[in-house]
């Protein structure tokens, strides 16, 4: 089997401007939704209590909501979770109330309505823990960005590092934009997925950059856009197939993983799709705008240490 029967290099870079405009618009939209709608943060970040209760028959969400609201909790969220028999109740953190007792009180009230209700899961997070998670998450993000940039700069050159990291941060912002627009729950697992995507889609840029370097060595007559086109064309089949394979796994999680892994898998799916797009169209194009050259990567052979012809060598001409 061969899906990719490409006769000539595809002139990706000819349309680089269009792709960059598309990217910029998606990015702007994502930022817009992030600012206006904000992320629907899970209880891990905001603090509060989440309860999952199971009923023996399909649950009456309205009735559960009124029962819980009757206990004097404000801003209670009640919704189905996974199946129609499972209900998720979210209580905000209340100051001065021993939150440890909240879940007990709710469960007792629900038991009075329907003795068949079972507690499947409760989670209580104090507000101080939530704040820490937010700062730790940001620290982790900063460390990933810095680490990858240093590595790319060391392995290639600073222009590649900048192009690679911008392309991939653009993926991250777009994932967050999706979560903001649809108000999907942003949990710790989603954060992990987002950071994993960052590491993963940089892969893609690295593979293309690797090829660009190789092509600079191989084809001395081509100009930079042609080199980039050739590199992308040569790696496109691999790009699609690997991402496809990873997506198979993620899809399997999306289908079989249940509600807990759902948003995790969703974040990965968006990340993988935009990862392909951004490595192919954004990273390479940015690198082109930044003006990568053959000379940046293919260094003239470094002179050996102590080479007597080196005028800057303090030991020049010295013999022992």
């Amino acid at each position: 089997m061969e899906f990719f029967k490409i006769r000539r290099d595809i002139p990706f870079m000819r349309h680089a401007l269009i792709f960059n405009v598309i990217s910029f618009l998606t990015f702007a939209a994502a930022v817009f939704f992030l600012v206006t709608k904000g992320l629907h943060l899970s209880v891990e970040f905001t603090g509060g209590t989440v309860m999952e209760v199971g009923y023996s028959q399909p649950a009456n969400v309205e009735k559960v909501r009124s029962t819980v609201a009757g206990l004097g909790f404000s801003e209670v969220q009640v919704q189905n979770f996974g199946t129609s028999r499972d209900v998720m109740i979210r209580l905000p953190a209340q100051k001065g109330v021993s939150t440890a007792q909240q879940s007990e009180a709710v469960l007792t009230a629900l038991r009075q309505e329907d003795p068949g209700v079972t507690l499947r899961r409760t989670e209580f997070v104090g507000p101080q823990v939530g704040e820490e998670l937010v700062t730790d998450g940001l620290k982790a993000l900063a460390m990933v960005v810095a680490g990858i940039m240093v590595y790319l700069a060391f392995r290639f050159e600073w222009k590649y590092a900048v192009a690679g990291i911008i392309a991939n941060l653009h993926d991250i912002v777009i994932i967050l934009g999706f979560f903001a627009y649809f108000q999907w729950e942003f949990s710790l697992a989603v954060l992990a997925a987002v950071l994993a995507v960052l590491g993963y889609s940089v892969n893609e840029s690295v593979v293309i950059f690797d090829r660009i370097r190789e092509n600079f060595r191989r084809y001395r007559k081509l100009d930079t856009p042609q080199i980039i086109d050739s590199a992308i064309t040569a790696t496109i089949s691999r790009t699609i197939i690997t991402h496809g394979s990873t997506q198979i796994m993620v899809l399997s999680m999306l289908l079989f993983g249940g509600p807990t892994l759902y948003y995790f898998a969703l974040a990965l799916t968006i990340g993988i799709c935009f990862g392909i797009y951004s490595s192919v169209f954004v990273a390479a194009a940015l690198a082109m705008w930044l003006g990568i050259k053959r000379e940046d990567l293919i260094k003239t052979p470094v002179k050996r240490e102590g080479d007597p012809s080196d005028p800057n060598d303090p030991n020049a001409g010295a013999t022992v």
Partner: protein
């Protein structure tokens, strides 16, 4: 060129073997078991305990599958849940005759069902996280400021006393926050006080400042002492929690320090959060009282008369009756420290007690009036008191005194622990709580498992269809990667959580990337007309640099998650990072070994089975556009 030396195959074989052995325990599942551990710090679980259990089970005609003794517990494995329940009752009856005064915790547990030889190799299954096995998780925050304030208060009292003993005139010792302030009229007094602090209070550092005509000295707790105090407070709270949790009868409670001031408590299998919270939050109290040594009390002690008015009957830990006066001399609040040690004269084990200044004054008065009489130290928990020890007062006591005589080193250690564990060193607050029902845990396991299995199968089918034999080899390498990953996680005894299983699935999805890279490279080499053997060689070589690069970036993300992540993110990061490392071994080294084994010996290899190697018309290689 495509041959591995023997040692490389040997490495592969060893890795296969080790991987298989350490993965194996995960397939045996878990067998019902009863676990017996000590409920009190003074109880020991040893070979005699095991023999008693064995005899009790033999007497009831219940054959155990296996009995194992480890440093803290005896575990007995059974063939079914029915016998497990029956055996629990039998053992409970044999070891714990009085449920109100339990010496042992007899708990139901699940043990790995793997055979003896695997256990002997220390091959154990992965530890399942709470989200997979059900149970409760608490994170408690220790109020360290309160611990320091408490310490400063007791130091202020001590200082006041020392100044008085040394006849240093001062204008009052006050505590403001965690600092102790002392005023003096004369500079000699200030100097004397500073000497006292330097000599007797190693934990304090003093600075003085003239204030009008007076001098003010401010003593603060040294930073290293503060760290030690915080550390001790945390340890003491953990010991106390441990003692309390023992009553819940949880088989494998996890009590861990997290960060500087947090304690994580995990109770697998416990569903009753209300009770767990109640037990965690309960305070035990310590009281010191005089032993009633009147004739009536002695009669009551022998069991021949009623307990006299104003006294109570308590049991000592070894079961002897002690009649103790109702009047409390001091409570555990005054006790600031209890440490085991050795008497410098007799070389006998002893326990040093330190009480605060107020307690010291009361102790001095009481001991002076009651020389040669016995004083009992009682621990109240769950409203039930127990005499820890009832030594004879040998002399006038101050704020530091010792209990010694007829103790072994172990007994001294235990007593010190119990004295300290009587109360929490600092208040705690629950800042995170998680309860997972057992059915949800089982569902999570099957969901995580299905995600991994289905994804794996589909990828293998696709790879085999697209890359033919090379795809099959990639699939085998992927399976090997999974085995290695599970083996490493089992060896590390890492805790597997649902995000961990997700990371496993993702690791497989990403690991196949390396094989795709290699296979595409080989195809490309073939396309440009390279001979099959040369194509395999250059394909692997060229792909290696790219694989290394891309894995390092993923590794950076994994390590960042590991550093800053907590809870579920950490579980994800551990599996993610290990998965990347094992994938490098399996996808490159191992798959190359398979390829070499298959093709390496054929000198005149004409074609390799790697699917369609498509060439543009005319057999020309892919050319750059004009």
């Amino acid at each position: 060129m495509n041959r591995y030396p023997v040692w490389k195959y040997a490495i592969i074989l060893i890795a296969l073997l080790v991987g298989a052995i350490y993965t194996l325990p995960n397939f045996f599942g878990e067998a019902p078991a009863v676990q017996v551990s000590a409920a009190k710090a003074t109880m020991r679980v040893d070979a005699t305990t095991r023999n008693r259990i064995q005899q009790a089970l033999a007497g009831a005609g219940i054959p155990p599958e296996a009995i194992t003794l480890d440093p803290n517990s005896v575990k007995v494995r059974f063939d079914s849940t029915d016998t497990q329940l029956k055996a629990r009752d039998v053992i409970q009856k044999a070891l714990v005759p009085d449920p109100a005064d339990a010496g042992y915790v007899v708990a139901l547990n699940l043990l790995s069902g793997s055979p003896q030889w695997l256990t002997a190799l220390r091959a154990a299954p992965m530890y399942l996280g709470l989200d997979l096995r059900g149970g409760v998780h608490f994170m408690l925050q220790v109020d360290m400021q309160a611990a320091l304030t408490k310490k400063a208060e007791s130091l202020a009292g001590d200082l006041r006393l020392s100044l008085r003993e040394a006849n240093v005139r001062h204008g009052g010792v006050t505590r403001s926050g965690q600092a102790i302030e002392v005023r003096f009229r004369e500079s000699q007094a200030l100097e004397a006080a500073k000497r006292i602090i330097a000599d007797q209070f190693p934990d304090l550092q003093a600075v003085d400042a003239p204030e009008g005509t007076e001098y003010r000295m401010t003593a603060t707790i040294r930073p290293d002492a503060a760290r030690r105090i915080q550390d001790q407070a945390l340890k003491q709270n953990m010991v106390t929690l441990h003692n309390r949790i023992n009553e819940l009868g949880v088989a494998e409670p996890v009590i861990q320090q997290q960060g500087l001031d947090r304690i994580v408590v995990q109770l697998p299998g416990v569903q009753d959060t209300a009770k767990a919270k109640d037990i965690l939050g309960r305070t035990a109290t310590l009281e010191m009282r005089l032993v009633d040594e009147s004739a009536e009390a002695r009669a009551a002690e022998m069991g021949t008369g009623p307990v006299p008015f104003g006294s109570e009957r308590y049991l000592e830990r070894d079961g002897r009756t002690v009649i103790v006066k109702r009047q409390v001399i001091i409570t555990g609040e005054s006790l600031t420290d209890a440490q085991p040690g050795f008497d410098s004269q007799t070389q006998q084990p002893k326990v040093d007690l330190t009480v605060d200044a107020k307690g010291g004054r009361i102790m001095r008065d009481t001991s002076r009036e009651n020389l040669r009489k016995r004083m009992a130290i009682l621990l109240f928990e769950k409203g039930r008191g127990e005499v820890l020890t009832a030594p004879v007062i040998q002399g006038e006591l101050g704020n530091r005194f010792q209990i010694s005589g007829s103790m072994t080193v172990n007994e001294a250690n235990d007593l010190a622990l119990l004295l300290r564990a009587g109360s929490l060193a600092a208040p705690m607050e629950i800042i995170e709580e998680l309860t997972v029902g057992p059915t949800l845990g089982a569902e999570n396991i099957s969901k995580g498992f299905q995600s991994v299995v289905w994804g794996f199968i589909v990828i293998c089918i696709f790879m085999a269809a697209y890359y033919m034999l090379f795809g099959v080899i990639s699939g085998i390498a992927l399976a090997f990667n999974l085995v290695l990953l599970v083996a490493v996680l089992s060896m590390l005894q890492a805790t597997l959580t649902l995000p961990g299983m997700a990371a496993m699935a993702l690791a497989l999805g990403m690991a196949i990337d390396s094989n795709v890279l290699i296979n595409e490279r080989i195809r490309e080499e073939l396309r440009t007309g390279a001979a099959p053997q040369a194509a395999i060689n250059t394909g692997y070589d060229r792909a290696w640099a790219t694989i290394l690069d891309s894995n390092i970036t993923t590794l950076i993300a994994g390590i960042a998650l590991l550093t800053f992540g907590s809870g579920p993110v950490r579980g994800f990061a551990v599996v993610h990072t290990i998965g990347i490392l094992t994938s490098m071994f399996s996808a490159v080294f191992f798959s190359r070994g398979l390829v070499n084994l298959w093709y390496g010996r054929q000198k005149k290899l004409k074609a390799v089975s790697i699917g369609t190697v498509w060439r543009p018309a005319g057999g020309k290689a892919l050319a750059p556009s004009e």
